[in-house]
């Protein structure tokens, strides 16, 4: 548990001690008494150059890149709950960039490439594991779709290939190629895709932000957004009013709620998406497998749990639990695909509120309110994008535009400039 408003660490404290093999040896020799708290929990100042609402992966990555790339360090990250407790701590940790449309491939591949060195950049082990992701093709339509994606990826410089059922079986010995409903006809394989430790991504960014002098303020809910005409002047919070020049709204499922406080509407609907994990078992699958036709995907965590992504509810809700029948559908699909998991016990199930746009692509955009920026709409697949999202959002907030973000404007819907990924990845991803 964290403490709020801990004043024992002064604002101008010493820089964080770095993690290293030497540090482990040093702490081993003194009963681990020297490990520090990873980030400060200060009381909010009266004014910041920029405030980010939402201390999840995307919000913290935005703050990190504001400081690292643009020298803006008078920044606060406000979080109504606890750091990384929303969708950052609720996803299935999959990282991939095999998208169909060029703007998507650009930002997801940027994110994936940043993940490759994130542990070194943050000096924090995010356990990035480029173990490879297979998306199974189980209908002729899906085969054609993934062949098209593989060709598009080749043009975009994203390394993917379409592989045969035999190659799928080599990579995933526990798979049943001749399923009762949908045989495996091939797969879209991205070898440098994989997984990372989701909590560590949030914690690593938080530690780096705190080290740059930024204030991460948990248990601080934004209750209103203050404007002077069409320009933002600050926020009202449960810890009092805080002024700012620029405001980034990075709150995923609650984006619509926050947009209403700022006085505009978003093309977003929020639904609960579920995931579950099994009891831990010995290593049996060292890649990530996604079976979109039968609606299920699975990977094995380093602890041995089978991590399973479930379905999204078919109606708006904010409950963070999800409907029972989706679990049954997901498990049924995965037992078809991987018969050996039929005896596994499921340990935990949970839900997160995902923010869905009409074209299943995110929004990284200016808004009708000057100084307010939104980063949302990542829907069912935001974790993989965290570093690229933060990179682009920070550039947008600092410079007023970003090559990676420009296509993801909130006005693309009225202009008919969709980035339509709903065909390529209409289900959970």
């Amino acid at each position: 548990m964290y403490q709020n408003h801990d004043e024992t660490i002064p604002r101008e404290s010493e820089p964080m001690r770095r993690f290293s093999a030497f540090a482990i040896a040093r702490e081993a020799a003194r009963h681990h008494s020297g490990w520090e708290r990873h980030w400060r929990s200060p009381t909010p100042k009266k004014h910041y150059d920029a405030i980010i609402i939402g201390a999840g992966g995307h919000g913290l990555a935005t703050a990190y890149h504001l400081g690292k790339d643009h020298g803006i360090t008078n920044v606060a990250v406000l979080e109504k709950g606890w750091l990384g407790g929303g969708n950052t701590g609720r996803n299935t940790t999959i990282i991939r960039s095999n998208y169909l449309q060029d703007p998507s491939a650009a930002i997801y591949e940027k994110a994936r490439s940043l993940y490759e060195t994130l542990s070194q950049d943050l000096n924090y082990n995010v356990m990035y594991s480029p173990r490879g992701v297979i998306m199974l093709a189980q209908t002729e339509h899906e085969v054609r779709g993934y062949l098209r994606t593989a060709h598009a990826n080749a043009l975009q410089g994203v390394q993917t290939e379409f592989i045969s059922p035999q190659r799928v079986k080599e990579l995933v010995p526990i798979i049943n190629l001749e399923g009762p409903r949908y045989p495996v006809l091939g797969g879209l394989w991205q070898a440098r895709a994989g997984t990372a430790r989701h909590d560590a991504v949030a914690w690593g960014y938080a530690r780096a932000c705190s080290d740059m002098g930024m204030d991460i303020i948990q248990k601080c809910e934004v209750t209103g957004i203050k404007r002077d005409g069409d320009k933002v002047t600050g926020v009202e919070t449960t810890l009092g009013d805080i002024c700012c020049n620029k405001l980034g709204i990075v709150v995923a499922g609650h984006s619509g709620v926050m947009a209403e406080k700022a006085g505009f509407r978003l093309p977003i609907e929020s639904v609960a998406l579920q995931a579950l994990v099994s009891e831990p078992i010995k290593p049996c699958m060292d890649v990530v497998v996604m079976a979109n036709t039968v609606h299920g995907y699975m990977s094995q965590s380093d602890k041995g749990e089978m991590v399973i992504g479930g379905g999204a509810d078919g109606y708006n809700n904010y409950t963070q639990r999800g409907s029972f029948h989706h679990i049954e559908e997901t498990v049924r699909a995965l037992v078809e695909t991987f018969p050996m998991i039929s005896r596994l016990k499921m340990l935990r199930q949970w839900g997160g509120i995902v923010d869905m746009t009409g074209d299943r692509s995110p929004i990284i955009s200016k808004t009708p309110v000057e100084g307010v920026f939104v980063n949302c709409g990542w829907g069912t697949g935001g974790f993989k994008a965290i570093p690229g999202s933060g990179y682009a959002m920070a550039e947008l907030m600092a410079k007023g535009g970003s090559p990676l973000a420009d296509e993801f404007s909130m006005w693309r819907f009225r202009e008919g400039k969709f980035i339509d990924e709903s065909v390529a990845a209409g289900v959970a991803h």
């Binding site: 619509g256 509407r265 978003l266 109606y315 708006n316 409907s323 029972f324 819907f413």
Partner: protein, 109 residues
């Protein structure tokens, strides 16, 4: 699990018997309308955390479309009513007011 009552055939069923159809009481704007109206109709949604009105279809039943008033944070259903209306009937509004005093949704309250 969400439990809804179809206002047409009177059957009470679990959500697997129904299919959600998104936000209710949208005013359709077609050719000749302003860009703002068209964007509002086609893309922008209330998406509230709380009282919400939406369309449902009794797919595994009588097949009729109907409306439901529901709380998106608690999944409490305040009532279902006919689709042949452009605004929630007074008894539904009263049922919501009894449990969520001061509620509002678009121009309704």
């Amino acid at each position: 699990m969400l439990i809804l009552e179809c206002p047409y055939c009177g059957v009470t069923g679990e959500e697997t018997e129904f299919h959600g159809g998104g936000e209710a009481h949208l005013t359709r704007h077609g050719p000749g309308s302003s860009d703002d109206d068209f964007e509002n109709y086609l893309f922008l949604r209330e998406n509230p955390r709380g009282v919400h009105f939406e369309r449902w279809r009794h797919v595994n039943g009588c097949g009729k479309w109907f409306h439901a008033a529901r709380d998106t944070a608690t999944l409490e259903v305040f009532g279902t009513y006919s689709a042949q209306t452009t605004e929630p009937p007074q008894d539904i509004k009263d049922a919501i007011t009894a449990k969520r005093p001061g509620w509002s949704w678009r121009e309704f309250k």
